[in-house]
Symmetry: C2
Subunit: 203 residues, 2 copies
């Protein structure tokens, strides 16, 4: 906003704005590189080169390769993590369906499906990427659901519910086994949502 409204309002401000631009450009490039090549084949040098900066600057803004990956994944899933509030804040007896619909929404949308596929592929093949995946899934999504459940085994319940959703995503979007790969999403949601709900709240 201040960029166009008041350019060159002093050297400090200008530099800060340029820094933000550079950081955003590096992050955009990193997202693309990780999506296309996966975690293992992506290098900090490659990201720096594609962004037209020095590797040291990439490290300066983000830290290690693992931390760049984490930042890239977080940006890609910002809309999902916002949707999460709607999932967890509603009535508990509908949380299974809300969660199932949110996850299907992410996978059915090509914009979010591509980075999701990239994360799954990276996490399955690389321990550092798996660690990022674990951290994000646990801290950003599952933890919030666990807090809503007033049950001693809420952690395990939440992970078993997530497992049903992860498994459907694997069979439908990654391995593509028929007929689940081509089935109407509503048909799958009708069968999966009660299972997710059951894992979370059944006695």
């Amino acid at each position: 906003m201040t960029d166009t409204a008041a350019p060159r309002r002093g050297r400090g401000r200008r530099t800060r704005s340029e820094s933000a631009d550079t950081r955003a450009r590096i992050l955009a490039v990193a997202r693309e590189e990780f999506s296309e090549r996966g975690y293992e084949k992506t290098s900090v040098r490659g990201i720096a080169k594609a962004a037209g900066v020095d590797s040291a600057l990439v490290h300066h803004y983000f830290g290690t390769k693992e931390q760049i990956f984490e930042a890239a994944v977080e940006v890609a899933f910002a809309p999902a993590f916002r949707a999460r509030d709607t999932v967890v804040d509603g009535p508990l007896d509908g949380v299974g369906e809300r969660l199932t619909r949110m996850i299907f929404g992410l996978w059915e949308n090509p914009v979010t499906r591509a980075p999701l596929l990239a994360i799954v592929r990276s996490a399955v093949n690389n321990e550092s990427a798996a660690a990022v995946f674990r951290k994000l899934i646990s801290a950003q999504l599952l933890r919030r659901i666990v807090e809503q459940l007033d049950l001693p085994d809420a952690d395990l319940r939440t992970e078993l519910a997530a497992a049903q959703l992860v498994g459907v995503a694997m069979m439908r979007y990654v391995i593509k086994i028929e007929p689940i790969a081509s089935a109407d999403p509503e048909q799958i949601i009708a069968r999966v949502a009660p299972v997710v709900q059951g894992h979370l709240t059944n006695p």
Copy 2:
């Protein structure tokens, strides 16, 4: 048997036995290479070299790289595919628990866990390996269960049941999210088996 009992009983027989040995050796090497490197990084040339034969001989016995992969996976899972008969042939109201126990047995056993991990990693990253995985899972396991269910949507039911098991395996053995990664298998089986049964037979 004839190998030690009656050696050199004529040129034809001898050659056949030698061929079987060579074929078995190539297959053993292929299993190891695919397990260690994954599908993409394994080459027919590399398998041939490690087995001490010419690439043409590998192609002669097995065909394409995809077909070698299929043969290697089939050998690795021969015990599992035999256990499958026990799963599908028992009473239908216990099929969920029998299937869940069979799958957990495979993953908990280090001998079968390693090739399972290799297959999952390969299938997630490579379309040819995914095709082999689809074919094996569908033809060797799911198809047999579908035949037992006298229901119009038996295919989708079986795949949703499999999805719950695939998801638990992903979270516990591949991504290793806690507490599901360290939970007592019996605790997980107690929660997962009824879900698998429900997908298969609930009205």
